[in-house]
Amino acid sequence: MGSELSFWAFSQTIIIPRLAEGIVVTLKLTLISGICGLILGMILALMRISKFKVLSWFSLLYITLFRGTPLLLQILFIYFALPTIFEAYNINMVLDSFSAGILALSLNSAAYLAEIYRAGILSIPKGQTEAARALGLSRHQTMYKIIIPQTYRRIIPPVVNELSALTKETSLVSVISLSELLYVTQRIGSKYLRVWEVYIWAALGYLIIVIALSIFASRLEKHLEQKGGA
């Protein structure tokens, strides 16, 4: 079935309708875990540079852990091992594959984004902090009004880099049977025994998302540049 169809006919009738469903899941995974990662990453970065040692150490431990182990392992751990730990402590919590995927991707990207933010914050010259403090701004006001706004333009390129990596890494979630782009196409491939067509379509799907992301980013960067940013 389907094996006698031409590439275009097969693509049109079988792959493309299912592809859309996979792309939507991949987009959801990317967007939700990207946003969670951006927020959690900022919190981790601020903890990391905090003068409270405990916060700084916790953040360092977190970042080391999530950057030092494979994402695939993290996904498997969260999906398969976490529920058994919950069970052992009588915590009633079920993680479906979508939530597990979101959780793993968010926690993982947060670790990378935290380091990007931190580097951005540390790249702002010390004179900026001194000028702000000399005017009577508190440590917090200095951070939120002076330092962080200046990091925006500087960190866009590495953040976009990380988000495109995240987009591609969502494919790892296929191991927990989440019907994202790669999983969906693979299923079609094995059902109809047509391999190269499905992979080409999957590749195209990721490419489109990543290219759209970088176009958006360069627009944003130009916009900030026109606004004067540092």
């Binding site: 001194e130 403090r133 000399a134 005017l135 009577g136 009004k145 540092a230």
Partner: protein, 247 residues
């Protein structure tokens, strides 16, 4: 312009960087309206002294009495924040906020720290920009200004907080020679308004002209101080004589 009211009474200030004692038991008083110029060779501790006055650098020991309020290295941070708002500082590298316009640079701290209304801050900023001759640059960004213009904005930014004392940390050292004059003029005008100023500078002619008192520092100590005439025309200490000879 001087009165007898002491604004800053600095007592036994010392500062260590690791094992290195950069300031050694510095004591002095600064009265209202006084213009004090600190001179000395590089590494003499004059900039560190200035930065200890507003606690940008935390002194290792000693205290400062600011209009009756005692401050030391153990003073709480929020108290120091309030104190710093009363002490303006101008830096060698201007340190304007590059993501904000000239106007925003000046209005930020008054609205954020002093809770002045936006209209009032705007009014004050416009007035200050006029005083430093930069009214037409109100909406420019710092990167579009020359060094001299940036430093004049930085002075306006500090003045917007209506400080009791203004500190100048080598305010003209990073400027091209032809731009030094415009900044010195603003500082001179400011001195004539009766502002209390502590100035670290290498501009000896300027020091001689505007200061009420000159402090000569070397190796973390105040070696000699007096009127500009006393220091420049009849220095007593050998180190002062040697320093002035090399200029």
């Amino acid at each position: 312009m001087q009165s007898n009211e002491v604004i800053l009474k600095i007592s036994h200030l010392s500062k260590f960087f690791g094992q290195n004692e950069v300031l050694k038991d510095i004591s002095t008083e600064i009265t209202k309206g006084e213009v004090v110029v600190i001179i000395g060779p590089s590494g003499s501790g004059k900039s560190t002294f200035l930065r200890c006055i507003n606690y940008l650098e935390l002194p290792t020991s000693g205290e400062i009495n600011f209009k009756g309020q005692i401050l030391s290295h153990s003073t709480k941070e929020y108290v120091l924040d309030v104190y710093r708002a009363n002490i303006g500082m101008v830096f060698q590298n201007f340190n304007l906020f590059p993501h904000l316009t000239v106007l925003e640079n000046i209005t930020l701290a008054p609205t954020l720290v002093c809770k002045v209304t936006h209209e009032e801050a705007l009014l004050r900023a416009t007035e200050l920009l006029k005083n430093v001759g930069l009214s037409e640059k109100t909406h420019a960004y710092p990167r579009d200004l020359s060094g001299g213009q940036q430093q004049r904005v930085a002075i306006a930014r500090a003045l917007a907080m209506k400080p009791d004392v203004m500190l100048f940390d080598e305010a003209t050292s990073a400027l091209d020679p032809e731009l030094v004059g415009e900044v010195l003029k603003v500082m001179r005008d400011l001195a004539h308004t009766g502002m209390t100023m502590v100035i670290v500078t290498h501009e000896m002619d300027f020091a001689r002209e505007v200061s009420d008192r000159v402090i000569f520092m070397d190796k973390g100590l105040i070696i000699e101080q007096g009127t500009p005439l006393e220091i420049f025309s009849a220095p007593k200490e050998k180190r002062t004589i040697d320093f002035l000879k090399k200029l």
